[in-house]
């Protein structure tokens, strides 16, 4: 029995056919085996996990029935867990110990979840393949010669390897969704503001969101329910009431969430070169939705093709500001004696040595875009185009309930095949960037109509705060066996 599949794991824990300590032990053993094969972890938290599992078992014995109680969860190493290292997969933070926990982590632990590991990522979340890490690449468990996607590739790989039931990722321009697609799992980027960013190391503050990753929509719903909601410690946290995502999903099963569902497919997809397997899955999903009573139409998001330059101006500008805090004084490796260097020299040396190539590149790019004489031409203009992208979504949702695209134009690519050409690497996020810029929720889930050799992910995007709709639609599809999930 696959106890690490969330719904089965939950059922087994509820029936007491397995204890959380047993389940956690199994999860830890699998993680150790995966680490040698795929390198998905920055840390395996054995002591913390077994202690949390024992507490969860005690809570269950006392009558507690919280959905996440005793369930093993992995957390991306960009999210603080008090007392544990948080490296952002960066050399500049290799010894950094989190002085407090992120709100999402506090909420998970309060719900009784067992945090078993910290997962690897592209440094500070900057990448689409998990090759931009100071601690080695992560391999895709479904084909170790290929990338797991990024930047939450470690979390996606941990799930694909069957090491955990649930994982937290973070998504700035597609970092939950694209690795979910590459690893054949389900991942949700919530509406901007839905999940607190407190304790998430900032990459691009106007875009970053913590998101749930799981084998299926049910797991994502349970995880989102635990972490979502207003937080006074995040100035951009949304006041909107959070839903009982899991309960709503289960209740919706008696209804037919596909019948009458209005699905829009952007006509601008015609301008994107899709791998044949991806185009085939998109066409097959479209036909399946129609056969189940959904109304599939073409919509227009005219500024969709501008999402890539808009995103890279905005995210690099914000990153250049956010990452200025890493200066070799408050944190860092202390590689050079401060006596020998001026304070500016110390900053420059620590940052030049501590940041990897992609991070240096993006900080330089953002510094340029924000510098005198260029601010209006780049940053301000990108923010104006972002407004147009936002309006495109608002307009499209007047006619449809959800918007459908592939998650990525391709399936998992070979490791090393994109590293020399940043624009080619960035193109992997073409379909995920628009939702990030508009702040709408978006989910990636696997489909396998045409039996592709590698997993293919499809993306559904809903209006702001309509995560429940996405989870219910994907749950319905998965209960119909789409993506091999039943």
């Amino acid at each position: 029995m696959d106890y690490l599949h969330f719904s089965r794991c939950r059922e087994a824990l509820e029936k007491r056919s397995v204890s959380s300590v047993e389940l956690t032990r199994q999860s830890l053993d699998r993680a150790c085996a995966s680490q040698t094969k795929y390198n998905p972890y920055m840390a395996i938290l054995e002591k913390r996990a077994l202690s949390s599992a024992a507490q969860a078992d005690a809570r269950r014995k006392a009558g507690d029935r919280a959905p996440l109680l005793g369930v093993p969860v992995a957390v991306k190493d960009l999210i603080l867990v008090e007392g544990e290292k948080c490296t952002a997969s960066s050399k500049i933070l290799e010894n950094f110990v989190a002085p407090y926990s992120a709100t999402a982590v506090d909420r998970l632990e309060a719900a009784g979840a067992v945090i078993v590991s910290k997962t690897a990522l592209d440094e500070f979340g900057m990448g689409s393949s998990n090759e931009n890490s100071a601690f080695g690449v992560v391999r895709n468990p479904l084909d170790p010669s290929r990338a797991p996607g990024g930047s939450s590739g470690g979390s996606a790989a941990a799930l694909a390897a069957g090491d955990v039931s649930l994982a937290l990722g973070t998504d700035t321009g597609g970092s939950v969704r694209q690795p979910a697609a590459f690893c054949g799992i389900t991942g949700l980027k919530p509406t901007y503001g839905r999940v607190s960013r407190y304790g998430l190391m900032a990459f691009a503050s106007s875009l970053d969101q913590i998101g749930p990753m799981a084998r299926d929509a049910e797991g994502c719903a349970a995880l989102l329910e635990a972490i979502a909601g207003f937080d006074i410690h995040d100035g951009t946290s949304a006041q909107a009431q959070r839903s009982s995502y899991l309960q709503e999903l289960i209740s919706s099963r008696s209804l037919d969430s596909l019948k009458g569902l209005r699905v829009g497919v952007p006509q601008e997809l015609d301008g994107i070169s899709l791998e044949p397997a991806v185009a085939g899955e998109l066409a097959a999903l479209r036909a399946h939705l129609e056969s189940r009573g959904a109304l599939v139409t073409t919509v227009s998001l005219p500024h969709f093709p501008l999402a890539l330059p808009t995103y890279y101006v905005i995210c690099t500008s914000e990153a250049s500001s956010n990452l200025s805090r890493y200066n070799g004084i408050h944190t860092g490796r202390g590689a050079s004696g401060p006596e020998e260097l001026s304070i500016e020299g110390l900053y420059s040396h620590a940052r030049g040595e501590g940041f990897g190539e992609e991070v240096r590149l993006r900080v330089l790019l953002g510094t340029y875009a924000l510098s005198a004489g260029y601010y209006d031409a780049y940053y301000k203009r990108a923010a104006q185009v972002r407004r147009l992208i936002y309006r495109d979504f608002a307009q499209a949702y007047k006619g449809v309930d959800v918007i459908l695209t592939p998650t990525a134009p391709e399936s998992a690519f070979e490791l090393g095949s994109r590293t020399s050409d940043p624009l080619k690497m960035y193109a992997s996020d073409l379909c995920t960037l628009p939702a990030s810029l508009a702040g709408v929720p978006a989910i990636s889930f696997p489909t396998n109509f045409t039996k592709p050799k590698l997993p293919v992910g499809m993306q559904l995007m809903a209006p702001w705060f309509a995560e429940s709709k996405l989870l219910q639609v994907v749950d319905t599809l998965q209960r119909q066996g789409i993506g091999g999930v039943v």
Partner: protein
């Protein structure tokens, strides 16, 4: 616009010491990316106010003092500290 790109100046502003061999390689990569930004210049943005933040409002908490983080938990991450403070090199130099 990218013709005037001076990587040494930008690196100085960004406080990033360039490594040997960095300059040419990074400049080439940066210029390619900046070239792709030019697509934004032709867009009609009339009437589009810049969207800098998606937050509904800036949620300020009540101005009530809270317990700060413990100093030791913060300083443990400093490569160089002394007597409860960060330690850095001499900032003001004598003539």
């Amino acid at each position: 616009m990218s013709q005037s790109f001076d990587i040494s100046k930008i690196a100085r502003l960004a406080r990033i010491e360039l490594r040997e061999g960095d300059e040419a390689r990074l400049k080439d990569r940066l210029e390619k990316i900046i070239g792709s930004f030019e697509a934004l210049q032709g867009v009609d943005v009339t009437g589009a106010d810049p969207l800098y933040s998606l937050a509904e409002q800036s949620a300020l908490r009540d101005d009530v003092p809270e317990a700060p983080l413990e100093r030791e938990k913060i300083l443990v991450n400093a490569p160089n500290s002394y007597d409860g403070c960060y330690r850095v090199g001499r900032v003001v130099r004598s003539e």
